[in-house]
Symmetry: C2
Subunit: 332 residues, 2 copies
Amino acid sequence: MQHPALKVNVSRGSVIESEHQIKAVIVSSDGQLIESWGNVDSLVYPRSAIKAMQALAFIEMGGAEKFGFSAEEIAICCASHNGEIEHVKTVQSMLNKLALSTTDFECGGHWPMREQTSYDLAELGEKPTSLHNNCSGKHAGMLGLAKMLDVSPQGYIGVDHAVQKCIASTMEEMCEYDYGSAPWSPDGCSAPTWAIPLTNLALAFAKFADPSGLSPAREKACHSLYDSVVSHPFMVAGTERYCTDMMRILGKKVFLKLGAEGVYIASIPELKLGIALKCEDGAIRAAESVMTALLDHVGITQGIPSEHLAPFRSVTLKNWNGLISGEISCCI
Amino acid sequence: MQHPALKVNVSRGSVIESEHQIKAVIVSSDGQLIESWGNVDSLVYPRSAIKAMQALAFIEMGGAEKFGFSAEEIAICCASHNGEIEHVKTVQSMLNKLALSTTDFECGGHWPMREQTSYDLAELGEKPTSLHNNCSGKHAGMLGLAKMLDVSPQGYIGVDHAVQKCIASTMEEMCEYDYGSAPWSPDGCSAPTWAIPLTNLALAFAKFADPSGLSPAREKACHSLYDSVVSHPFMVAGTERYCTDMMRILGKKVFLKLGAEGVYIASIPELKLGIALKCEDGAIRAAESVMTALLDHVGITQGIPSEHLAPFRSVTLKNWNGLISGEISCCI
């Protein structure tokens, strides 16, 4: 079933103050397009939503076993984390296990994604490092992949480096899309991001949810990654983040991951489904609202107490004095 | 002339990654609708874009003279400031002149709008106060208005308080719109914001640009406010802010002011025009891009060296490593 693009309304008092258009698609692991909203064939940069796919080759090659990475460390390979103390410690531990240091990172640094963490850091008179970069776990995984491929990690963010070629090849198979013809651009962290149709992004995460049709090594790697992220949702994002909060509420039923510019994916093993969506204007608030509505729509939230989901089904907006000013909501 | 809504493209590499829809209108001081894009009759909360109108009654009643407010202090009444040291000092000085203190403020506090200012504050072990609230200058003006009206300032943010009634009455005359029928809601700072058609918002700022048809006291007040904001653009916003940077570039030709959720106004005396726009999805990056295009469109940027305007006509996006990743642009 194909529908027009979804709409998210942001109200203030009795007036719709802003609205967002979102395209979305649900695909099953056998490649069937179950339902779509808006033009899902146009090219979308998955940005950080695809991090689990970027980690797949490393896990598949036995990198986690070789370097003794814990489940938390595997999970943070797939993260856009808040740069909280636990995140920084976890990535530092991975570098130690790889016998590498932050000087090997090519992602750049930025103030922690969580504002309060930034203020805490500043209060200590400290400055952010590349460990605080929300992608630092992904980059630790990429450095690990360089070791598994037995190549120098130097320049690992380059599109022609063996690390990125290996990642592109894995993603190409998972997305069933020709990456040779896909436009690419440096992402926020300088690693390449390739633009692909939203449907192919959803397909990759449907197969991630149900990897039974893949090679035994890849099937095992998908299970390992899935178990790690749903068992350690804090590592995937952090305090007061939608991915983390919703994964906690939904138990181990769904893997959720945001990407910059309003991209979101979900991977649902029990239904053998992948979901991908993109807010046309890049707003994360709208992407999260639609994701909640889609999780309800496919029925995976059944049985979850509604008081747990209510704050996500309709997000209450408050002002600086804590007065309720409006809400964000989406109906399918 | 009526056109479809304007579009702003956000590119990454060779692909349009996100896009925004914007409605906009240009109105002359005699009430003529010169040109419009999208549905400009629907209701829009002007949010902080209307701050100069909220300050008008206080100035018109002679408040600045009575309390000895400087041009910088008049300017910050119209500001959404960064909470930088100079902003905080200026608002504190106004409170001193009013013989009031921050305990009289009812706006709440928040970390400074400018991130670096927040980190600097945190590094000093300090917490933000209501002086750092981007609206603190506006609230100082409202407290001043309570004094001019000879009423207790307590509860001055209430829609039924004499301060807000006086402000609503002034805005009603400037916008030529019945505020009695306008939906209202508490703004971010808890003062009421009334939803009005975008055309009426533009009309108010056309009359602000050319107040010759108004009462002598209001005409004088408009000139005083206009001169203050264009002479002290730093006070209206701050470091690395579009309002401030563009007002500096354009000399005293234009007053520019943003409002939350992608609202922007311009007031252009030399052309006797007011401009109002609203990004449908609330994105400020798109509102700024369209404002630059509209300033070019009406011709007020003629004679300004293009190297000064180029960074605003096409905003270059860079990633954490400083690599160029894309741009934001709008064509009319």
